[in-house]
Symmetry: C2
Subunit: 433 residues, 2 copies
């Protein structure tokens, strides 16, 4: 990928952009292509510098355990931010109806600020290995710019609740005003998204792959609204805004995936997990559709809940919970936690035996005692169901599963939810504002 | 400095803030104290991690050349950004006349974005040692967010010129509209400020000391406007905005100076030079007083012009141009460029001999040939004038000189300039807009 190629594709994009001047979506697509090409050029040309600086890791699931540059996620993150900055004059105007109103600029800039804060904090984490209990809250700090601007510029702190619940206490209103609790709710979302992406990791391509799936599902949701509304609707505007944040993200993420997929040429580092999670949190918060966003995080949420016994130290947690690589056949097998030093408590014995019946855990017994149990991660669970597979197949299986769950949720969201709530929430809610 | 101390001083500040709720200046002072304390706590508690990560340098002007953590400038920079974020709800309101109008929020957030971009680029530079010709332009990239928002939100691209010049071509107007050239002008300022601070460096405390002096001079200028105007004036508002950016900066800079001054416990790295230069550029650009800003950069400008023969390779430039440390008396002496391999060209011989007469260079001759000449930096020049001095005296001499020049310029700015321009520029100019 030479600089000439970048030049050529940039020119193509400029044509695309100028044909649709002030059409936010097509402009974003143009810049997404630029982002893809830039990342595609920068990763191979800079990755050696990362190794030199000591930012590298070993790929444990390969034959010769090659050394691979780490923290490469910083490159697409920075490219993404610069694209979002350069795009501003194309999508914000005082005078044009097809582009965003300048009043939205404050919100947009605060989204960028939150993302930049997240990049810096992620980078600091990759550099200095911050303690787990500290880094858990880093995304909350990064979300402060967005929350602050939300507070002084919008202060919309109501959420909609289903009709049948409001009827229980005989209220007329379809929404409750959470007040300051709403800011805690938004802060929690910004903690959840990055961290849940961060713990569903460990095989080539999965860190980036899962963010591509979530981005795709969010875009499908956006385009649904764009297809049924017209450009004067508030919800059309909101989902057009959200697409403008997501389309360039998809550009840089796809380019990163090219290098991170099996066999990985680069590792993305915590920076990418935090950054991509924050992109989704920012999109959800600024568009006031955080609950819909959560639907696309079900696999991550499941992985988190499933991991709780190990994360919170209820049962032993080894340093790495990656699947085990077998050098003979090149396949990945379940990895196990061993109970040789400290036998498993009786209550867990019963739960684990029950879980084993439903194929939710794999146990190795000896004389009726549990000696080993499979590590509690979604990756290990999939391995229980599919048996040993190659790393790339495992990654694609999880991505496919994630897409299917998300897509089903999306359909339910637009069929059952309007019935439960009495209307499709973002429409009415935001029009009332 | 314990966490308790921070807590106590935070409480004091909260009292100060709440007493003057929505008074931007006193709120900024309160937060500046918080910033001072935070940086004062964070630097000693984190500096060992920087050394571990390989971010360290040798202090060449000390007896045993101790190893000192480098890139510490990142700490006050990040603290500063978070203060500017948290302060937002206190100084921006829709409904109060004493605080800033919410319309200014876009500009404010774009300032923050530019500063954050500068931090990231400075950090990348400190980590990966970017080539000189590339890093020269990094501040321009960081200024793009500010320029973009300036473009869509303000687009004020006129500058005032003295009356006698306009009279030459018989124009009625006191200003000329530079159009897109104005953006190049602003971009150049953002390149100049960080880089000129970066090359006036090399002795303990000077990197931070010079930024404290510039900040102080800018604040004096701001308070001059605040004292003569009233809160409904546009220029009052602009200089109040600028103070709100500068006061917390002074807080973190003073705290950093405590550790960076002779004998340095920490080195600040390029991050700080870039970041602080960008703070000034951002203040000047957003307040539309970039020309006044330049008055406070005269020592840096002189240092740059004086260095040109070495920077652009007209005469040899050694790797380091620091003054020479004499271990016997602990004083700093002039450092020299030697011409033993490549004799000095004839034209330079004449110029140098002339400069020597005015005590602007120090030459060592042998048989009527120049063998060595003092390195062309402001630091060396001061050493020619004062003779060998201790490192801290040299630093304070330069800071004092800088303050005196700046202060004289400030007086001229408010006495002669209004006569030349026919009025005090920012007042009329901005009121017209």
């Amino acid at each position: 990928m030479s600089l000439l190629n970048i030049g050529v594709s940039c020119c193509c994009c400029l044509v695309l952009i100028s044909c649709h001047y002030y059409q936010p979506i097509s402009t974003s697509i143009g810049f997404a292509v630029v982002g893809y090409q830039l990342v595609d050029h920068l990763i191979p040309s800079t990755s050696q510098h990362f190794i030199k600086r000591g930012l590298h890791g070993k790929d444990l699931s390969k034959l010769n355990k090659p050394i691979i540059p780490e923290t490469i996620g910083i490159i697409p993150s920075i490219v993404y931010i610069f694209i979002l900055i350069i795009i501003i004059p194309f999508i914000f105007r005082n005078d044009s109806s097809t582009s965003f109103n300048i009043n939205k600029l404050g919100l947009y800039l605060s989204c960028l600020l939150s993302l930049l804060c997240m990049i810096i904090l992620g980078l600091i984490d990759d550099l200095f290995d911050i303690r787990w209990r500290h880094k858990f809250f880093l995304p909350f700090i990064a979300s402060i710019p967005l929350l602050v601007v939300y507070y002084i510029d919008y202060s919309l702190t109501s959420i909609l609740i289903p009709k049948f619940i409001t009827q229980i206490w005989g209220s007329d209103s379809n929404s409750i005003d959470l007040g300051w609790v709403y800011y805690i709710y938004m802060g929690s979302i910004s903690i959840f998204c990055p961290n849940s992406i961060n713990i569903l990791a460990g095989i080539n391509g999965l860190e980036v792959g899962q963010t591509i799936i979530i981005g795709l599902l969010l875009l499908i949701n956006d385009f649904y609204y764009l297809s049924i509304g017209n450009s004067t609707d508030l919800s059309y505007n909101i989902h057009s805004f959200s697409s403008c944040l997501l389309i360039p993200f998809m550009g840089v993420a796809l380019s990163l995936f090219k290098y991170n997929k099996y066999p990985s040429k680069v590792f993305v580092g915590d920076t990418w997990c935090y950054f991509s999670g924050m992109v989704f949190a920012v999109v959800g918060i600024s568009g006031h559709f955080a609950k819909t966003l959560m639907l696309f995080f079900i696999p991550q949420l499941f992985n988190f809940i499933y991991s709780i016994p190990q994360l919170f130290g209820l049962i032993p947690c080894p340093r790495h919970r990656l699947p085990k690589f077998n050098e003979l056949d090149g396949l990945l097998y379940n990895s196990y936690t061993e109970y040789d030093k400290k036998p498993l408590k009786k209550c867990y014995y019963k739960i684990f035996t029950l879980l084993e019946k439903f194929k939710l855990i794999k146990l190795v017994k000896k004389d009726d005692l549990i000696v080993k149990s499979s590590n509690l991660t979604l990756i290990n669970l999939i391995l229980i169901w599919t048996g040993p597979v190659r790393e790339d197949q495992l990654c694609y299986t999880i991505m496919l599963l994630q897409f299917l769950i998300g897509f089903i949720m999306l359909i339910l969201r637009h069929t059952i939810v309007p019935i439960l709530f009495g209307f499709d929430n973002s429409w009415n809610m935001l029009n009332r504002h």
